[in-house]
Amino acid sequence: MSARLVAGLTAPALATASPAVAQTQAAPTSLDEARAQGYAGRPADEPAGSMLGGLLAIGPGFFVHGVGHYYTGDEATALKLLVGELLGAGLVVAGALVAARPEEAGRAGPLPISLVQSGVFLFLGSWLADVVGTFKGAEPFDDDTSRLGGHTLGLGYRYVGDPRTARRHRLVPSLTLDSGRVFVQPSAEIEPNFSERRFALDFGGRPWRGASGRDHVAVGARLRRDESAAFGYATRAAEGWLAWKLDMGQLIARMRRFSITQRYAVGIEQFQFGASPSDVPAPFADVDFTSSWFSLASGFAFNAARRTHLTLEFVQDPTVAIPAASAQSGLLRGAFSHRYRDDLDIDVEILAGDGFSVALGLVYAL
């Protein structure tokens, strides 16, 4: 925990003391002296963190969300978290019931996935909010330093730890042209001897942005071309997606600058198969097979340090570099973006599923 938080646990913060005054006056030796110098105590609506409250939130709080906040006197938030838990559990049950109905199996694919993932996300989110909020108290997270807008050039490398392929290395260049409202992002992922390559073009807009500039709703599309000279096939795909990011502080005061994110996508993909494993069909060759898919990613985003933005997501997407952990599961994605300089970010992404992938990148602001 930061020094400020530790101090907050042991003594009220000097919320209104002026540094200038502190330099010219002797430090108060009693509470009366401090009040005389202008100390007003911790605001009632900004409680300190609580170690015991946090432990309660971890243990019994996993079953009854909000116990930690209730212990620290924030009953309103405790109730919100309990409602979140019940709502999340309800969504999971609903999703499981929908998925279990055999007559719905052919027509309810995205629905149970969305219900279950959103439900688990809401359940875990309300529990995490209770734990983190109780431990941390009212102190907000660091400012969100993720880039939203501006033009950048990215150069990256990905290692794919998948025993099903001997082709483990990828170069990942990308270009982002982003006005803040609309954006275009061409990118590629290419195996060094060119036997596997992916080309993508993302474009879209943000019809809504919050006051902070970080909260947003974005809609977009992705066009993608995959070619495999290792296994003799190519695909061309079109995907439409909707994504949103919301600061939880708007719902739970102690979770300011801790955001929740979600991305829904539906795509259609045309497959072209070559006559031999080394034969890659041309982009406009005949299509052998067409299939569609649905993907969903839910996660959290916050600044783990002053200049380091962290995103943790659970991803159910059958088009990413490695397969899910199991047929009924998904992947965990962790991404760090460190603002090394104002014009340079260092990005790290880790994907864990049935295998793993690690991507390292540099993003230059243009």
């Binding site: 497959f271 569609s292 199991s326 965990l332």
Partner: protein, 441 residues
């Protein structure tokens, strides 16, 4: 450990999801058995398995018992003896066709220099007694069949049983009924151990008693020419009663074997798998099985192989008429194929000799026909890789389970039949390589 799909726990359980490679290791390990330092059993087309509870061995016998489960219609059980004293091994065979032929032949697993040179020069003309399976071994006599049914009887237990006895010291071997007394060291000729320099390389080579169990499937006459029929069932899950009905229905059909497409147990616990296996014991014909995600969920890989055999395999269907279709089982219980299976796919799907159509049975379809549901392979690139291979190989049909809804579609020229819940799919393949698939309730 059960690897249930709960968000972060499932995604973090990367290490948990090594079931397929471990199952493959279990299959490979079940192809050999070391009975003593100089006595072992090697298998082709069969796997070592647990002996049935009702199998009784002759009293006072200390001959080791080897139980095997056939995974092919032409299997070989080789007892490899590098010793000298007379020894017996009792062999119990499960999953054999009722009209299987049992034969045996003894070898020295080596050949003299002169024989090797002769073989290199003029294989057929000057080496007429050579064995097509082991051309570089020296046969010690012609193949002998064990014809009498009572000579292969296991008593009260099902299957085929016999006692294989070898006397390497005198190059003698034979198969006799299960209850034959095992030889003692004094019951044979004096055992003289000869070192290689004195006896030559051949004399010091291991003594091999190769026991072969073969069945020929008899095609039926149809309007489209001679054809073979078989049945594919699966996707019963915890519904044991449905599995029992399907087994009874298979027994009522006139088919030589049955293939299971997986998900015939509620989960991978020992109780559920044992329950399913007890139902399958009622089959009156051989069965071959690939696995579904329920069967594999938390299951011990060795136990799965022991109960159900090889989940990835190529089952050749010998007709004896110059054509030989095959059934390729692909283990997709984890929502995809393993690295080893992908690497071996070209060999699995390669045209055979004699020629014949290929039918693939796998639990998870490469692509869900209802795409948005996402019940196909968990990574679309792997589905594309498999479909590309199937399409190039000209696979006649793919039969899958997993989905509750039955259906059929053609993906890149490959007919994909989705059996649906509790499916009973009859497959007919004819001499011309055409495949007819009919699903019924």
């Amino acid at each position: 450990m059960r690897c249930k799909a709960l968000l972060a726990l499932a995604a973090l359980s990367v290490g948990c999801n090594r079931a397929v490679p471990t199952r493959e290791a279990a299959i490979e390990a079940a192809r050999t058995l070391e009975l003593a330092a100089d006595l072992s059993v090697e298998l082709d087309g069969a796997l070592i398995t647990t002996c049935p509870d009702d199998l009784t061995t002759p009293e006072g016998s200390d001959a080791p018992v080897v139980c095997v489960r056939l995974t092919a219609f032409d299997a070989e059980i080789r007892v490899v003896d590098s010793g000298c004293a007379p020894r017996a091994v009792r062999v119990h065979v499960q999953n054999a066709a009722s009209d299987a032929v049992v034969g045996w032949r003894a070898f020295r697993a080596g050949e003299s220099t002169a024989r090797a040179a002769t073989r290199a020069c003029c294989e057929t003309l000057l080496n007429p007694n050579g064995d097509e399976r082991h051309p570089d071994w020296t046969p010690l006599g012609p193949e002998v069949t064990l014809d009498a049914l009572d000579a292969r009887s296991c008593g009260e237990s099902r299957g085929l049983c016999w006692t294989s006895t070898a006397r390497p010291g005198t190059d003698q071997a034979w198969l006799t009924p299960w209850t034959t007394a095992a030889p003692t060291a004094a019951s044979g000729a004096a055992c003289v151990s000869l070192s290689a320099p004195q006896a030559g390389t051949l004399r010091a080579a291991p003594f091999v008693l190769a026991q072969r169990v073969r069945a020929t499937l008899r095609p039926v006459a149809t309007d489209d020419g001679p054809a073979l029929d078989f049945v594919v069932i699966g996707n019963t899950g915890e519904d044991t009663a449905s599995l029992e009905r399907l087994v009874a229905r298979v027994n009522a059909e006139d088919v030589p074997f049955v293939v299971l497409s997986g998900d015939i147990a509620a989960n991978g616990s020992d109780e559920a798998l044992d329950r399913a296996r007890r139902v399958l014991d009622a089959f009156e014909v051989p069965f071959f099985m690939t696995l579904g995600e329920k069967d594999a969920d938390g299951a011990d890989p060795v136990g799965l192989v022991d109960r159900f055999g090889a989940s990835t395999d190529v089952l050749l269907l010998p007709t004896g008429q110059g054509w030989q279709p095959k059934v390729v089982l692909l283990d997709s219980a984890e929502g995809g194929l393993s690295a080893k299976t992908f690497a071996a796919l070209p060999d699995y799907l390669a045209p055979g000799s004699p020629p014949g159509a290929a039918i693939v049975v796998t639990h998870t379809p490469p692509f869900d026909p209802s795409g948005l549901r996402g019940a196909g392979f968990k990574r679309r690139g792997e589905g594309a890789r498999l479909l590309a291979a199937l399409s190039r190989a000209g696979v006649a049909a793919v039969i899958t389970g997993h989905l509750n809804e039955p259906g059929a579609d053609v993906q890149s020229g490959v007919e994909i039949v989705h059996g649906g819940a509790r499916h009973f799919v009859r497959v007919r393949v004819n001499e011309a390589g055409r495949v007819f698939v009919q699903r019924s309730d």
